[in-house]
């Protein structure tokens, strides 16, 4: 039974993650992070 609960939680989390990813993709900052490929240190690509 415990295994089914774990899988159920993972399934819900996976769906929530994909929805969140979709929303974040169409928000303004995702592509900046992807484009500069930085994600390290104190780099910040500002969006005009």
């Amino acid at each position: 039974m415990l295994q089914y609960i774990v899988i159920g939680i993972m399934f819900i989390l996976a769906i929530v993650y994909l929805i969140w990813l979709f929303i974040r993709t169409f928000s303004s900052r995702l592509y900046c992070q992807k484009a500069c490929g930085c994600g390290k240190g104190n780099v910040d690509v500002k969006d005009d």
Binding site: I7, F11, I15, D44
Partner: protein, 687 residues
Amino acid sequence: MKTVKLALVGNPNVGKTTLFNKLTGLHQKIGNYPGVTIDKKSGFFKYADTQFQIVDLPGTYSLYPSSKDEEVVFRVLNEPQNADHPDKVIVLADATNLRRSLLLFQQVQDLGLPVLLVLNMMDEGQKRRVTIDTEGLAQEVSTAVVSVNARKGTGLEQVKEQVRILHYVKPPDFDPGFLYKASVEAVKIYHEMDNAYRAWYYLACGRDLSFGGDNHLQQLIRQHKIVPRRLQIKETFERYKKIEGILSRVIFEYPKSYSRFSEKIDRYVTHAFWGYWIFFLLLFLIFQGVYFWAEGPKDCIEGFFSNLQRWIHSILPVGPLNGLLSQGIIPGLGTILAFVPQIVILFFFLLLMEESGYITRVIFLMDRVMRPFGLNGKSIVPLISSTACAIPAVMSARNIENPRDRLITILVTPLITCSARLPVYTLIIAVIIPDERWGIFQLKGLILMSMYLLGVISALGVAMVFHQVLKRPYKNYLIMEIPSYKWPVLNNMGISLWRRLKTFILGAGKIILAVSVILWVLGSFGPSGDIIHSADGAVSTLSEAEEELGSRRLEQSYLGIIGKKIEPVIRPLGYDWKIGIGLLSSLAAREVFISTMASVYSLGDGEVFLTLQQKMRREIRPETGRPVYDLATGGSLLIFYTFAMQCMSTLAVVRKETKSWKWPVIQLIFMTGLAYFVSFIVYQILK
């Protein structure tokens, strides 16, 4: 601690980002071609109890912006309210081309900012037998001059020290001339400023870029009958006159008695005939290498994940968690990671081209090819960047001045084969193309190269259509400096390679993990309420009955039901419902197709430990008894992925760059429509 804001400006491809990386210890993308930096990037460094915030700005030849990326420089230097407006400026100059760098330097200095002049590539200048009297130059330009080698990291301490003590603001000595004196005075009074050059600069820009949208400037321009462009030309002429005088006093150039290494090579690689052949030969060798060298490491990775799958299956108790790991997550992740060697090889060669400076020769060659299709040579930078990922490529179109050419470039860039398509292509090619060799050349490598060429041809074809539809406001030309060849710095290449690989693995990996979990659950449970986990059976031996059972279970699952619903739409293209699931899940990102197929075939196949390639080859159409992945279906699938817009992030970036939903929607519709139509034709011809 006090924070001093610095701006790093200079002509394109003088090494600004290389210096920025050395000063801050960061690893921003660099390349031996102009237009790599298209937005400002900031970092920090500490020196003598002061914290410096340094902003790396896109390259520009003058302060008058002609493209979106150059406007960033304009805004940072001209808007005191801008968060990145600097206290001090570093102008990085190419020692081999001081003339052009000094124009920008003088403009920045006349804006009334403390400026340090840093000379890069002095070693290159010495090779060309050019000597610069730096002390004399410092006196001429009324500021300190420091020599550095940004690639090797020498001279950095002097830069930091000189920046620390830099305070002197040279009074502008720019003379607007008798004709424009009155209008310059009017701007000075209205904007309450002392700096005559800044007032001139406002007039010469001629548009309200940062003046709060006031109409006063426009009125003034009309009233004094000013043609802003004429002011820019006048200023450029006068500055160059002055610069020639300075250079004659500080530069000692020995007569050129020999032809440089770069020039010798360029005679062949930029040749109107041989240049193209050399380029295609290099591409040919790269794609052969992608198959030839990647084979061994790919088999090792596949073997590792197959063993991991067996091990997990044997140690975990029989049940759904065992099934999820051994049939869902591990095959999903393992299959995509098996393509890492091919991606590394391809990126390594592309980076080698970028770092050495060869890519600028390709841009020069391609300018001629691009023009009939309504694009210009600058479009090549995004198109080449797109071989890694369309997202930064779409953004790099900002350095194209002409808005129409920029839009066309943005619209066709996603047609170029990106790294996400590479695993899809190599998998399908491996399944449908036999292991034939022509001498030392592999047939698969040739097909892969033709897929890349098809991407380029389709991008040009679509560009031509847009060229006919969209109006061109004005014609523009490719003006680009060809840098000298440089030995690639392995450290830089390693960092760039790792960054691209990380984006591929982590970016796709997270989606693949989530999709694998969802697919396994949907493929293991059905509406009848039965719990299906075929991994609990004995699967070490191949049994037809077991296979049949697995296949039926999958068909009855939620995944099977969804797949069957979409099957009628994709049937004319030669796809079954399992491929349909792959197409659907890869809407998020193309490479998800691979992991989806791995999960789907793990669930529906009795022999779970075969590689995905082996499983796909075994897949039979129940109605005809023939293989699913024959030349017709495989060819159709390759074509579908060539044209289809299967990338959510690219759509998002197109929306952002075009500032509307109109173009991404048009792009989605035409690319998907084109993919469907051409795949249909290919399948119907080949079947």
